[in-house]
Amino acid sequence: MRTSALPVLAWAAWITLLAAVLGVWASWDWQAWAQFLGAAGLAWLAGIAVLLRPARDRDRTLPDYSLSTVALGVGVVFALVGALVGWWLVLIGAGLALGGLGGILRERA
């Protein structure tokens, strides 16, 4: 068993217990305990991911900069603001984001 996963799994168990107590005590307040259990579910997923992931390769190549990531970030921001301003900005943002994603794939190749 990977010991790295232990604190995450222990923490997931702790908040599951707290959510369960709330669920028993306030079963009528379904939203409260349901959203709490949802968060506990996320913690379990994180713990299981750590448990199952193979050990990392310690030798890796470090990128120094990534203009493509900047394009992706600006694209996402434009696309989200476009939800308010109009489709034209959504399309510009989506274009930038796609271009950025393509660039990242090229950088990683």
């Binding site: 010991t3 790295s4 996963a5 232990l6 604190p7 995450v8 222990a10 923490w11 702790w14 908040i15 707290l18 959510a19 107590v21 709330l22 005590w25 306030a26 307040d29 939203q31 409260a32 959203q35 709490f36 968060a39 506990a40 996320l42 913690a43 994180a46 750590v50 992931r53 990392r56 310690r58 030798d59 890796r60 190549t61 470090l62 990128p63 120094d64 900069y65 990534s66 203009l67 493509s68 990531t69 900047v70 992706l72 970030g73 600006v74 996402v76 921001v77 989200l80 603001v81 939800a83 308010l84 990242i104 950088e107």
Partner: protein, 531 residues
């Protein structure tokens, strides 16, 4: 050994696009400090408005925008990003890693956070002004009939972007500690600060999605959907919001506790006392903090007060353990009264006031009395400003030499501390009395009754003293960077791995690593080398 993909080309574009975790953290800190200045100026305007009854420096509508953007700025764009920035810089160094996993995603997280901040503040430039329904954006106040104009929508979109960025950063930091530790660094050899980041990031990845859900629903509601506009809608929104809104208080607290704990150990020249209890209490604290959100909703009468009161009161146990450990570290140590330790001690004193008054409001009968009053404003400013920010400055004065290679001026640091300590107490302590006398929060004016006038006057003077203290800090930064006093690799006799490497560290962080014998490997070496 990790290698560099390509030789860095000098220039602003490559600096801004750098994925080196240290540069990302520095940029994130600079952006956060700019938003801190902007949000601080809004606070000074608010305090000026409240300095005396009957003043009308700004309109009531503008005042609503001021307190909304002040609170939003401080939570979403200052304290949370600052907390994460400390982690982005120092976690890889403390765990002996060459970088964070997924460095491009780290840059993306930073950009989303910045984009969110700019989007939120752009509300000041549109018709009807910026958002004005508080940093909580309670529905129906944040609904279209009561918050007209694009300012509210820009605020919602900005919050979504910032939260997305913060979840990315939190997830990557968590992965770093769990998967990228140096050989020999077991989980119980992780330094205190990095453990505080584990607890922080667990909350970020599990609680912050609720904020994105709340904001998405609010945006849809304002654009024609009918989700919250029902009998249970406003309470449903509050549940979602506070599920994020309470843990975020601890997200903006734990990393600074970790920094203060490191400062206490280094400047007491002693191994941190009660390491295992501290780690356990951090995890217990983080879990409990997920279970207390509805104490903000006691007054609604729609939640199980006894559960949330019980869990809120239980918080005193892990908090007490952390206090006990820090004070235990100082007892018997060879204390060196440097600026980082002064700020760490200030944090211990002031956060105690914030914490104890938090236990008051964890009790529903007391909470009913002070709910939505200036008492609550005093309470959370003692935790977030007087507590977390003092601990942040403990970290800044301790780690500045590592980041820049230069020491901050000690004399100016002590002046900064003294002014900020006095200013914080002058500003926030009178607010307890104001609240107890019944002054509600979020009002632009008040009657000349009781002691309210002079209490507010004192509080306004205090805010000016805080501003002065921050100017001293800014001057200290300028002086220390222009006329550098070289710090060397380890000016303090540090305990953890970041003090092993050069100041500032190279791109790949370490050329070599010492044996990792405990959570304080460099202290172990110092003790070994002593006859």
């Amino acid at each position: 050994m990790s290698t560099l993909a390509e030789a860095p080309r000098p220039g602003l574009a490559t600096w801004a696009a750098s994925v080196d975790h240290k540069r990302v953290a520095v940029r994130l800190t600079v952006y956060s400090l700019v938003f801190f200045a902007a949000s601080g100026i809004l606070a000074l305007l608010m305090r000026s408005e409240l300095a005396w009854p009957g003043l009308q420096i700004v309109s009531h509508d503008t005042y609503n925008q001021l307190f909304t953007m002040h609170g939003s700025g401080m939570f979403y764009l200052v304290m949370t990003p600052l907390a994460l920035a400390l982690g982005v810089y120092f976690v890889p160094l403390q765990i002996g890693a060459a970088d964070l996993p997924a460095p491009r995603l780290v840059l993306l997280g930073e950009l989303l956070n910045l984009g969110g901040g700019l989007t939120m503040f752009s509300g000041f430039f549109v018709a009807h002004g910026a958002a004005k329904s508080g940093w909580t954006a309670f529905f129906p106040l944040s609904g279209l009939p009561y918050s007209q104009g694009y300012g509210m929508d820009l605020w919602i979109l900005g919050v979504i972007m910032a939260a997305l960025g913060q979840i990315l950063l939190g997830g990557i930091l968590l992965a770093a500690v769990l998967r990228y530790r140096a050989p020999g660094m077991t989980m119980l050899k992780i330094p205190i600060f990095s453990w505080s980041m584990v607890a922080t990031c667990l909350m970020v990845v599990t609680a912050f999605p609720a904020l994105i859900a709340a904001m998405t629903i609010l945006f849809l509601e304002r654009h024609g959907a009918s989700i919250l506009d029902s009998a249970g809608g406003p309470i449903a929104y509050q549940h979602l919001f506070w599920f994020y809104g309470h843990p975020v208080v601890y997200v903006t607290f734990f990393p600074f506790v970790g920094a203060a704990a490191e400062a206490v150990a280094i400047f007491s020249r002693k191994r941190f006392f009660g390491y295992h209890a501290f780690v356990l209490s951090l995890l217990a604290f983080a879990g409990l903090s997920m279970s207390v959100w509805a104490h903000h909703m006691f007054a609604t009468g729609q939640v199980l007060n006894k559960y949330f009161s019980l869990t809120s009161t239980l918080l005193v146990i892990p908090a007490g353990i952390e206090y006990f450990d820090m004070i235990g570290t100082m007892i018997g140590g060879r204390i060196s009264v440097r600026t980082p330790l002064l700020f760490a001690s200030g944090f211990l004193v002031l956060f105690a006031i914030g914490g104890v008054t938090g236990i008051f409001v964890a009790s529903p009968p007391l909470d009913y009395h002070v709910h939505d009053s200036m008492f609550v404003v005093a309470h959370f400013h003692y935790t977030l400003f007087a507590g977390s920010l003092f601990a942040f400055f403990a970290g800044v004065y301790m780690w500045f030499p590592k980041v820049t290679g230069a020491l901050l001026r000690e004399g100016l640091g002590k002046v900064h501390f003294a002014l900020m300590f006095v200013g914080a107490n002058l500003t926030f302590f009178p607010m307890f009395a104001m609240g107890w006398e019944g002054m509600p929060r979020r009002v632009a004016d008040y009657r000349h009754t009781g002691d309210l006038a002079w209490l507010n006057a004192v509080s306004t003077v205090g805010s000016a003293v805080i501003a002065l203290s921050l100017l001293v800090f800014a001057w200290n930064l300028v002086v220390s960077l222009r006329r550098r006093v070289p710090a060397g690799n380890d000016p303090w006799g540090g305990h953890t791995l970041e003090w092993w490497t050069t100041s500032p560290p190279p791109r790949h962080n370490f050329d070599s690593l010492p044996p990792i014998t405990s959570f304080a490997p460099l202290l172990d070496r110092q003790l070994e080398e002593k006859p």
